[in-house]
Every structure is written in structure tokens, then in C-alpha cells.
């Protein structure tokens, strides 16, 4: 540790730290223009000049380049320092008289008018070179450099031509202190892509994400893109996030990892999948950027979304009318016959948001309004009072006429007439469905599935979070459509069931399981592939099949298949069932009919 003073304040610094870094850490202001923590100090602008007293000598030094030394005395605001900066600002202001940052900084040092005239008052570049250094040293793209010398010196891409070396990362625009660089997109559009994607290459997936940590979008990240673009020869481009992160939490080498844990309980909370409305062409989804799903609307209206929460059309205008169609893919025998349960309420909420943020007219096409939860019906009444047009009848068709409006056709069942509404935006309240890989999860955990594809609970009324596999519980929408309050309640129940199980320290299993009589098992291996729970396995060293009673659910499939009669299904033995048959058929038919 090095001890020295800045402006009379004793400070400590690690070996190799610059005076500027220490001062910034200690909150002592030193102005800079060409400094950026992600880039090696360069000392080009010299605005960070300070007075340094060491070994009995005093001189002016750029604080961004001078390392801290034991016993040195630094002064950041002496008259000499002030004068030096004043001179510099005069020169900067003369070059770039119309750059606000320069104007402000010059004013701080008493320079309000450029001391020297200029022919190019629109000039913004102060030739600090930050952009060049970022592009070369950080991004590694080497798409920018200085050309020429002296007063004609300038920053430009090689040969002043468009370059394929530029990856459009925008790092230069971010570091440029004077806003001299602009990225020009070939086409300008707010909604060129669905407003659901991340806004930067490193982002927190959602504000509600748990754990709330950022992730890197490796398709967007400069480092990964450069790595991919150069086939690995430029593997350590950028890395600014890592450099900046004081917690040192960023690790680019981190990949997907398979973690094996021995656990006593598993809660399956694999959620749901949004049904893809492309499957029903009558909703014209994909034919206009202004036909969006409810989830996309959520993103659009989110304050952290691409429009900062403004509800805008693809061309940036505010919509004047919006249609929200319920039951898209739900309660529909050509898609999902079940009710997705959450859509009515979010559709009402979205109507409210549209009314509140844009004042646009809102048409809700609904079949039945399922406001089943606490205070939901009251909310429904409130929305009606807000002037939302409620049309009872399924939105049947969305048309995309060339004039730019969208036309929604449907039936108003209350009036018994067909209706047609022209709107700017259509929101489809699409169904929620089981995850596409639910079958894999189901065979992995031995879970049953109900007809709708969601995982089956052990009992629809009495065991809503348990499954047929002991120790595996269901939480949330993987078991069936449910909204947030219900998911929270369901999950809480699953957690408490799991905790109760763990706390007990032992498990109780059903006695109705299969068991192998090893005196009779002849190792034919018929049963081995039959068990969906892998409860029957072949024990090579004993040359018999054996049932793991903790895994066996007692379905009896192996019992019925065992050709050697070596497997008994306890409580449903062959003897018992055959005796039942005999017993039943011993009753004379006359008695049966009398009864």
C-alpha cells in the first residue's frame, strides 16, 4: 500500500494505481475528456493535469498517467493547475465552439468565448482518440484510426470508406465525450423487431427475474461476436463489463454446466408455453407488426421495454384504436379446448393501460368474462366504466387491408349481429399451453399428464401439488393455467409439502408395489423395459430382476407381463383378482338382476 496526499487528504492506493483513479475513488473531482476507465490512459487531452510534489520538486503532471507514489503530495486545484486547464479549454473551445460539453467545461475555467477563430464551427471531435483506442484495444475491430497530422489530423475508417471491420457495436459513440460519432442505421424503425428482445448485450432478463442478475446475450455481445467473427483469434475483445464490474462477477468462460445434486424433493415449476397464433391464419398474426400477442403487449407497455413503456405502433405513432381478442387458441376445439384462465384479466388490464396511456378506443372481443378471483369482478366493472367497448362474441377474423388499418370481424352475440371494427392495433390473448418438452419432463420424473398436456397432480382436489412420484411436486402453470396469485399460492403449497417431507427425514410409500420372487425370476428380462419409473432393474451379479420399492408406483404392468409368474403385485395379486372373478361369477344372474 502506498500512502500519499491529495489536496491535503491522506489517501492509500494499491501499487500501480494512477493518481486519477485514486482521486476518483476518493471523490476528488478531476476533469477529464480523453479518459475512459475501459481504455488505457493516454494523456491526450491533458485536462486531468494536477500539481505533484515529490522528492522536493513540484511539477504539473497528467493524473491519468502518473502512478501513485509513496509520500507524494498532489494538489488538484492550485492556481497553476487552473491556469493550465484554462489554456487547454481555450484551445478546445476554439476548435469545437458549439459542443455543449466543451462550452460548459470551458466556462468552469472562465473561458466563455473561443480565443481563436475557426472555419469549421460545426466540428465536434477534439481528437482525444478515445474512439480509436476503444475500437482498437477494446473491441478489437480496428475500424477507426487517425489520419494525417497537425491541424488536418482527423479520425476516420481506413481510406475514408465504409468498412466491414466495423461491427456496428457502437462502442465509439458511447466513449466519445463530445458526441462526435453517430451510428447511422440503414433503416430507421422502432419496431423492426418485436419489442421483446433485450436492449443491450448484457441485461437482466426481467425485472422480476430471480436471481436478479444480468446475463450476456452472446449473439449481441461484442466479445462473443468478435470471437465468432474471427474464428477465435480475437477472443478477448471488449470485456468492458468485466473491467467495470467491481464485484468481479463477470466470467466469460462460464458455460452451461450440469450440476448433480442429491436432493430429497423436487419441485417441478417448468411453467407454460405461449401457444403460437401462427397456427390459425384467421388472426393474421405475422402479417402486420401491429398484430401482437398479449405477452408482446406486456413488453411494449413495460417501463423497461423498448419504448420506455409508451404504447406505440410500429411506425412510432400512438394508436387511436385497439382491439383485444380473447380466447385465441383457448376454448377452441381446433386448438386447445380448455380455458387459459389468465387472459380475461390481463386483457382487461391491457385495455386499462391503453386507455390510460393513449386514450385510444379499446374493443374487447370476449366469449365469457371469467373474472373469478378476488376483486376481479370489481376490476371488470371499473374497466367498463372507463369506456372500453365490450363485444360479447369471439373475434373471428383479423384482416390487414392495404390502407394501414386493421379490420377485426366478429359476432356481437348480445345483439345478434356481425360486427367489423377498424383498429390500429390488435392484441391477441393467446392460449397458454404445456411446454413442448413436457413429455420429456414427464418421463424423467414419472409424471402423469392430463388430457390438456399439463402435468397431472395426484388428486384434483385433495393433493393439488403432489404427483404420482413421491417427492416430486408441481408448482405453477406446469400443472395447468393459473395466474400470479394462484401460482404463488400453489408454489407455496408445493414448497411446504417439500419442506414437510424433508423435515420428516423419511418417506412413506404405498405398500401396493411389485416385488420379484428371486427364486422364480429366470432372467428373461421381459420386465426391464416396461417400467415407466425404471423401478425394475436387472441385477447382473445375482442374475435376477429386482424392484426398487421406493420407485415403484404399483401400476402392475410388469406383473401382468412377467411370463415366469415371478412378479407379484402386492394388494392386486393374481390370486386376489382371480378370486374376485370367481366370486363375482358365482353369484347367480337372477340375484344380480334383482339387486
Amino acid at each position: 500500500m502506498i500512502t500519499f496526499t491529495i489536496d491535503g487528504q491522506t489517501v492509500q492506493a494499491e501499487e500501480g494505481k494512477t493518481v486519477l483513479e485514486v482521486a476518483r475513488r476518493e471523490g476528488i473531482p478531476i476533469p477529464t475528456l480523453c479518459y475512459h476507465p475501459a481504455v488505457e490512459p493516454y494523456g491526450a487531452c491533458r485536462m486531468c493535469t494536477v500539481e505533484v510534489e515529490a522528492h522536493g520538486r513540484t511539477r504539473l503532471e497528467t493524473s491519468c498517467t502518473i502512478p501513485a507514489q509513496e509520500g507524494m503530495i498532489v494538489r488538484t486545484n492550485t492556481p497553476d493547475v487552473y491556469k493550465a486547464r484554462q489554456t487547454l479549454m481555450g484551445l478546445f473551445l476554439s476548435r469545437c465552439p458549439n459542443v455543449p460539453l466543451i462550452q460548459e467545461l470551458a466556462a468552469q475555467y472562465g473561458v466563455t468565448e473561443p480565443p481563436y477563430p475557426t472555419d469549421t464551427p460545426e466540428e465536434k471531435c477534439i481528437l482525444c482518440g478515445l474512439c480509436v483506442r476503444v475500437c482498437q484495444d477494446v473491441v478489437g475491430a480496428k475500424a477507426l484510426n487517425f489520419s494525417e497530422r497537425g491541424i488536418t489530423r482527423r479520425v476516420n475508417p481506413p481510406f475514408l470508406e465504409k468498412t466491414r471491420d466495423c461491427i456496428g457495436c457502437g462502442a465509439c459513440t458511447i466513449v466519445c465525450p463530445t458526441g462526435a460519432i453517430e451510428i447511422v442505421m440503414e433503416e430507421l424503425a422502432i419496431y423492426q423487431e418485436k419489442p421483446l428482445g433485450p436492449t443491450s448485450a448484457i441485461y437482466v432478463p426481467s425485472l422480476q427475474a430471480v436471481p436478479r442478475v444480468p446475463v450476456i446475450d452472446t449473439d449481441a455481445c461484442i466479445r462473443f461476436r468478435q470471437n465468432d467473427r474471427t474464428n477465435g483469434s480475437n477472443a478477448d475483445a471488449c470485456g468492458v463489463c468485466q473491467l467495470m464490474c467491481e464485484a468481479d462477477a463477470i466470467n466469460f468462460d462460464q458455460g452451461d454446466e450440469i450440476v448433480e445434486l442429491d436432493v430429497g424433493a423436487i419441485i417441478v415449476a417448468t411453467g407454460f408455453n405461449m401457444w403460437d397464433p401462427m397456427q390459425m391464419s384467421q388472426y393474421a398474426y405475422g402479417q402486420s407488426p401491429n398484430i401482437i400477442t398479449g405477452l408482446e403487449f406486456e413488453r411494449l407497455s413495460n417501463a423497461s421495454g423498448p419504448t420506455g413503456g409508451e404504447i406505440l405502433l410500429a411506425d412510432g405513432r400512438k394508436p387511436e384504436s385497439v382491439a383485444i381478442i380473447h380466447c385465441v387458441g383457448s376454448r377452441d376445439h381446433s386448438a386447445h379446448p380448455y380455458c387459459s384462465r389468465i387472459c380475461c384479466m390481463y386483457a382487461l388490464k391491457q385495455a386499462h393501460l391503453v386507455r390510460d396511456k393513449t386514450g385510444a378506443e379499446v374493443y374487447e372481443f370476449y366469449m365469457d368474462m371469467r373474472a373469478f378471483g378476488k376483486a376481479y369482478e370489481e376490476f371488470y366493472e371499473r374497466i367498463q366504466e372507463e369506456g372500453v367497448f365490450m363485444i360479447r362474441g369471439k373475434g373471428a377474423k383479423v384482416e390487414v387491408p392495404p390502407d394501414g388499418k386493421l379490420r377485426v370481424k366478429g359476432e356481437n352475440a348480445n345483439l345478434g349481429v356481425m360486427v367489423s371494427v377498424d383498429v390500429d392495433m390488435v392484441v391477441l390473448a393467446t392460449a397458454i399451453e404445456a411446454q413442448p418438452d413436457a413429455d420429456r419432463i414427464s418421463s424423467l420424473f414419472g409424471l402423469g399428464r392430463t388430457e390438456d398436456g399439463f402435468f397431472a397432480e395426484a388428486h384434483p382436489k385433495l393433493r393439488p401439488v403432489e404427483t404420482n412420484t413421491d417427492g416430486v411436486f408441481l408448482a405453477g402453470a406446469c400443472q395447468g393455467p393459473r395466474d400470479v396469485p394462484d401460482t404463488v399460492a400453489h408454489t407455496g403449497a408445493a414448497v411446504s409439502m417439500a419442506l414437510a417431507l424433508l423435515d420428516k427425514g423419511e418417506v412413506t410409500i404405498s405398500p401396493a408395489v411389485a416385488c420379484v420372487d428371486e427364486e422364480l425370476c429366470s432372467a428373461c428380462k421381459t420386465c426391464i423395459t416396461l417400467c415407466p419409473y425404471s423401478a425394475v432393474s436387472f441385477i447382473e451379479e445375482d442374475n435376477v430382476a429386482r424392484v426398487n420399492e421406493a420407485l415403484c408406483k404399483g401400476c402392475g404392468t410388469c406383473v401382468a407381463a412377467c411370463p415366469a409368474g415371478a412378479i407379484t403385485g402386492r394388494h392386486f395379486t393374481d390370486e386376489q383378482i382371480l378370486a374376485q372373478i370367481e366370486g363375482l361369477l358365482r353369484i347367480p344372474v337372477e340375484q344380480l338382476v334383482e339387486a
Binding site: L520, A523, P563
Partner: protein
């Protein structure tokens, strides 16, 4: 047989033994001949009161015996006619221990497949339809027929082949078509040593199935296609069933030494069902179908639809002793 004194009541202390056959092919008799040198040991240890193949004995002598005179009667052959049944009753009466010997007496055997038909259709085929038969008069055998010289009678053929156990109380069952010599000898030794298990037991066979004795290597079963034996040259090392050839081994009592698979032919089940299996054919059917590698109804129906002749395959040896005994009589 638990009491050895009962079985050694002859003057010279030797066991009084009888061998008899009803409706059978005679293979069980040859199986006794297959004892080879041990026949001499048998001769030394037991008085064989009658052995139709090799010994003289008289029907009347048997009728004249006091009840229970024969210590052990090995009865082979099924019950196909009134005469077979009559003799089964007589021998039961005269024997302390009545043993159903061989597949026919035990479970009906291959001739039991006749239970898929009735007497009339068999007569029509044999005496009227067969192309070599010249029978323009439509003559059929008659139980009683008046010849010019007098009445000639022959026993009545039953519609249904029955096992010995279905018409009489049987003490022990020796399975196999035919029972294999080492197993016969083991039974003889048990009889001589008075070491027979409780009445009603199957003796001369194992508790485990044929698979236990089979040398072919078994893997997990997932059958995509069934092959009839002539349709495939199987890998000699691997389990035939695993290769799609229906093999009754998994549903058949062991004890034969898994002989058929030694020449790469599948077991057809002559040793009958394993101890806990009620119906051998149903058990085999269930196992065979369960391991079909088909996850849709259509595919499963297609694959199992390739199995020709389920009854003849799954009940090759045991139709008369199956739960249904025979096909429906019209």
C-alpha cells in the same frame, strides 16, 4: 409318498411300479428307454409290475389287484376316449401314487390342439375329405357296428382332449414332451428315496423357466418385428426372442436343459407353465405383446398382427389345460 413305507411294501422290499400310457405318441416310453444303462438300476430297485413296451401284464391282473396295490403308477398320455378315462379311474384306484407323466397327461400336449375342432369335423376331414380317401359311401367309424357276423364295438372318441388331472386325482406331475432322461432319473431317485414333495407338485422340473438354462445371451427386449423361424437366420449367441422369434422359454418351466435353443430353434413350451403361472399361453402372450416396441395403437396392432396362429403358438402344448380348455363348441 411322504411315507416311504407305503411305497416299499413288496415282499422283497422293492418298489412296485407301473408304467402305463393312454392317448400319447409313445415318446414317453422311449424316454424311459433313454434312461439307457440306468434302466438296469431301475430294474434292480423296483419291481415293474407292468410296462407295456417291455413287460408282460394283463388287464385282468390289474383289475384283480387290491386297491392301492401299485406303489407308483407313471401314467402318460391324454384322455381322448371313453377307454382312456376308464383306465385312468382304474389305475387311480389301484395305485397309491398316480403320476401324470409327460406333457400329454400333464397338460394335453400337441394332440390337444385338436380341441380347436370337434369330433365331427375331425371325422369329416379324415374319413371324407382327405384327397387320398376313397369313401363314396360316406362311411364313418361307429362306436357300435353290426357286422354280418356280429356286433363290433370301438371306444367313443371324445370331442375334447383332457388331461389326466381333469378326470382323476393326480398326485404328481412330470412335465415334458418327452420328460428328459436326467429328470426322469431324478424323479425315480426321489421315489426310491421317499423324498417326494407335497401332493400336487410338479416334479422332475425346475422352479425357474427355460431361460435360466438357456445359453443365449439376453438383452433388454424391444421387438419391432416378429419373425417366423424360417424367415430369419438368427445370431447364435443372442436370445432368439430378443431377435423377434417368439420363444416360449420365458413362460415355460425349466428342466429340459433348454435343448431346442441349442440348435437355434425357439422353445415351444413343452414343460408347461412355471409354478405361479395360471395359464401358460396367456402369460406368454402378455410377455410377447408387452415388449413390442410400438407407442401408437396402430403400430402395435400392426406388429402383433404379424403373429400368426396365436393359440397354436402360445398353447402349443397346453390347450387342454388352459383356462378355456378348447374352442367353443357349436
Amino acid at each position: 409318498m411322504a411315507n416311504t413305507k407305503d411305497t416299499k411294501g413288496t415282499k422283497n422290499g422293492k418298489l412296485k411300479m407301473g408304467l402305463y400310457w393312454a392317448a400319447s405318441c409313445g415318446g414317453c416310453e422311449i424316454a424311459i428307454v433313454e434312461l439307457r444303462e440306468k434302466i438296469l438300476d431301475l430294474d434292480a430297485a423296483a419291481d415293474i409290475l407292468f410296462w407295456p413296451c417291455a413287460m408282460d401284464f394283463k388287464y385282468k391282473d390289474v383289475e384283480a389287484m387290491p386297491d392301492g396295490h401299485i406303489d407308483v403308477c407313471l401314467f402318460n398320455g391324454a384322455i381322448r376316449s371313453s377307454e382312456n378315462e376308464h383306465l385312468a379311474h382304474l389305475l387311480r384306484q389301484k395305485s397309491k401314487v398316480l403320476v401324470a407323466f409327460g406333457s400329454c397327461a400333464h397338460e394335453g400336449c400337441i394332440p390337444g390342439l385338436a380341441n380347436l375342432f370337434d369330433r365331427q369335423s375331425i371325422f369329416e376331414r379324415v374319413y371324407l375329405e382327405t384327397p387320398s380317401t376313397d369313401n363314396s359311401d360316406g362311411t364313418l367309424p361307429q362306436i357300435s357296428y353290426q357286422m354280418p357276423e356280429g356286433e363290433v364295438t370301438i371306444p367313443k372318441l371324445y370331442n375334447t382332449v383332457k388331461t389326466l388331472g381333469q378326470v382323476e386325482d393326480v398326485d404328481y406331475f412330470v412335465p415334458g414332451c418327452p420328460p428328459q432322461a436326467p429328470q426322469i432319473w431324478a424323479v425315480v431317485e426321489a421315489i426310491l428315496g421317499g423324498k417326494l414333495p407335497p401332493k400336487g407338485s410338479v416334479v422332475g422340473a425346475n422352479e425357474k423357466t427355460v431361460c435360466d438354462e438357456c445359453k443365449h445371451k439376453r438383452e433388454d427386449k424391444r421387438i419391432k418385428k416378429f419373425y417366423r423361424p424360417h424367415e430369419i437366420i438368427p445370431d447364435s449367441e443372442r436370445c432368439l426372442f430378443d431377435q423377434g422369434i417368439i420363444c416360449a422359454g420365458p413362460a415355460t418351466r425349466g428342466g429340459c436343459g433348454a435343448l431346442c435353443p441349442t440348435v437355434d430353434m425357439p422353445c415351444r413350451g413343452c414343460y408347461g407353465p412355471p409354478p405361479n403361472v395360471v395359464d401358460q399361453g396367456a402369460a406368454l402372450l402378455s410377455a410377447v405383446a408387452s415388449v413390442v416396441d410400438a407407442d401408437t395403437e396402430e403400430e402395435a396392432a400392426r406388429v402383433v398382427g404379424e403373429i400368426v396362429d396365436p393359440v397354436g403358438t402360445f398353447y402349443r402344448f397346453g390347450l387342454p389345460s388352459s383356462l378355456l380348455h378348447r374352442s367353443k363348441l357349436d
